[in-house]
Subunit: 347 residues, 2 copies
DNA sequence: TTGTATGCGTTATCAA
DNA sequence: TTGATAACGCATACAA
């Protein structure tokens, strides 16, 4: 089982196997790769025996150098503890495993300097493709840096794609965030809600901005005037949802509904309202976006819109492992409104 | 910027750089590796210019084949959406990035067949080390398979370590689960709780078993008789916590406290109790284990014991990237009881 | 059916 | 201060 010298093992190579089996390395290679090439039963057996005894495992780096075929994909998330990203990560790791690939996951801690650094590391690692999960930042420097990396990756034959808009030209598998904002706002309007507050996350993130614009568009369409007082932006976490809901109610207490830009924020808001003994949906309706798994267990269960996180992750890996080089038209997956009990029916 | 043939790029190599700069590849290599070797300013500049113009990036596979130095670590979690694991993952990715390494994360979906398969994939990938995050299964076949892989990894010079006991000899960086069970149970006993229920997760998982034994040991020590009726095992999720709390109360309604084997379960239990309008801690005390981030925001905030998840992940990466080959004595990190409002003080 | 020889892109040894 | 060359482990074209 390998040579034990100085208590350290040296992995055996094809050469060792060939020698042990008394054949050439070509033959060993053919057997390893299970290529449909005629090999006599006797030789095959002796090689397999040698492989087993030596505990031989092919050297990926050498294979890789030779064939230039990678079997890793890179995923960059903002916060792996956030259900939004962990669901995407599950889709990515699941599909990767299915295709015998491995996923490298980096957590940028919502800091785009890290985001860029990780892309560099992943390119250097020569992964087969890089998946950017978070929404782009409305920041010219960031966009420029990202475009640089797109070019760099292309030169190395590495695919890059995003699961949320980046404000630049990049293959995109995502959802239609503007229409999501519209749908949820219209849902509330349809039930006669008038004073509809908006709690957003970081509004320099394009995803947030697009949903927000969907909200504004529906207000306008329905001749409801926008009230800046009841629009708050902050972070994407439930802590922020809690804090911003508090702030919101301090500013304005005649609210019909709160549209939260994601479910995390809605969960935080629900928590604050419950603490304040404000009835949901009797006193105020709350809706979110995402349908993360906890949304069905909040009190009351959350009305939201289901985003296909896992499917996004899977599709991304499929693209990376496909022959397709690139694509320009965004692939937008459907999302479906999920009615639960946190929204009042006023009709 | 690379040769564009048929709309596909071929990454440039050191050879290309050398040719462009009119020097030997040896010189290029020296400059790339920033080795302290005298290179004339003029040559250095021309090489750097060529690197820049060609967009040259070293080929990791070739470097790797030559030097046999890896810069990736593997992490296997059971469910990346579970705060227990996502916190560990954050520790791992953070420390990895710090050391210019990349983390490959696999999600076994709590299925140990996948767990083993992922280990194989990671070994084949020749990562520098593999971190097993979940607790081992009390299952002889699993243990045997795991031991096989330990040996295989050793042959390849790959370190494997666990962040929870596996029931076999393996380098371990963890916490003392038995004493954690003891501490939490003693905490309740000290406050005069007598009928202390236990909601566990999968009791074939060693971590669970050890905490449970700590609980039993304290009951015994205090001459409290164990009541099988109020001991339930199930899953580690809050859905299971909810369901098992319900089951528990259907079986027995004279409970002083519930000791949950982790915070997820406690969160689920709290949810059920709140729905049933059962006061916590007025009617019944609830404590958990872990101190996941949501624990301070539950209603009431959860009394629990803080486990150093992130630190575990970081220490694991430090070990993998260190010179140390292995170690036999488990490294057990401290955990600290966190008193919040979900436990009644009866004294 | 099997084997020989070449080259993938590096690093490192040795020579100049 | 610089360069020629071998070797890492493998896949493959070609020869036998």
């Amino acid at each position: 089982m390998g040579d034990n010298v100085n208590n350290t093992y040296k992995a055996s190579s094809m050469k060792d196997v060939a020698k042990a089996a008394g054949v050439s390395i070509t033959t060993v290679s053919r057997i390893i790769n299970n290529i449909d090439y005629p090999v006599s039963q006797k030789v095959r057996e002796s090689v397999e025996k040698a492989i087993d005894e030596l505990g031989y495992i092919p050297n990926r780096s050498a294979q890789n150098l030779r064939t230039n075929v990678e079997n890793t994909v890179g995923l960059i998330v903002r916060d792996i503890g956030d259900p939004y990203f962990s669901e995407i990560a599950k889709g990515v790791t699941e599909k990767s495993a299915e295709l015998k690939h491995l996923a490298m996951i980096s957590d940028s801690k919502r800091d785009y300097a890290y985001e860029l650094e990780y892309i560099d590391l992943l390119i250097y690692q020569r992964v087969k493709g890089i998946i950017i999960a978070g929404g782009g930042y409305e920041n010219d420097e960031y966009k420029k840096q990202l475009e640089d990396r797109l070019l760099k990756a292309k030169q190395q034959g590495i695919k890059i794609l995003a699961l949320a808009p980046q404000g630049i030209s990049i293959p995109l598998i995502s959802v239609d965030n503007f229409s999501i904002g519209e749908k949820m706002c219209q849902l509330l309007v349809d039930q006669n809600h008038k004073n509809i507050a908006f709690i957003g996350g970081d509004n320099s993130v394009i995803t947030n901005k697009e949903r927000f614009e969907g909200y504004l568009s529906v207000l306008k369409k329905n001749n409801l005037k926008m009230n800046e007082n009841i629009i708050i932006h902050g972070q994407f976490t439930w802590e922020a949802g809690y804090a911003n809901c508090k702030e919101l109610l301090a500013r304005e207490n005649k609210l019909d509904a709160i549209l939260c830009v994601n479910d995390n924020i809605a969960v935080g808001a629900l928590g604050y309202l419950s603490e304040m003994k404000i009835g949901v949906p009797s006193d105020i309706s709350v809706v979110g976006v995402g349908d993360i798994s906890i949304a069905q267990y909040t009190n009351p269960p959350l009305t939201t819109i289901r985003l296909p996180f896992r499917k996004l992750g899977k599709k991304a890996v499929e693209f990376i492992c496909s022959e397709e080089e690139s694509f320009t038209d965004p692939i937008l997956l459907d999302s479906e409104v999920v009615i639960r009990d946190s929204m009042k029916f006023k009709l």
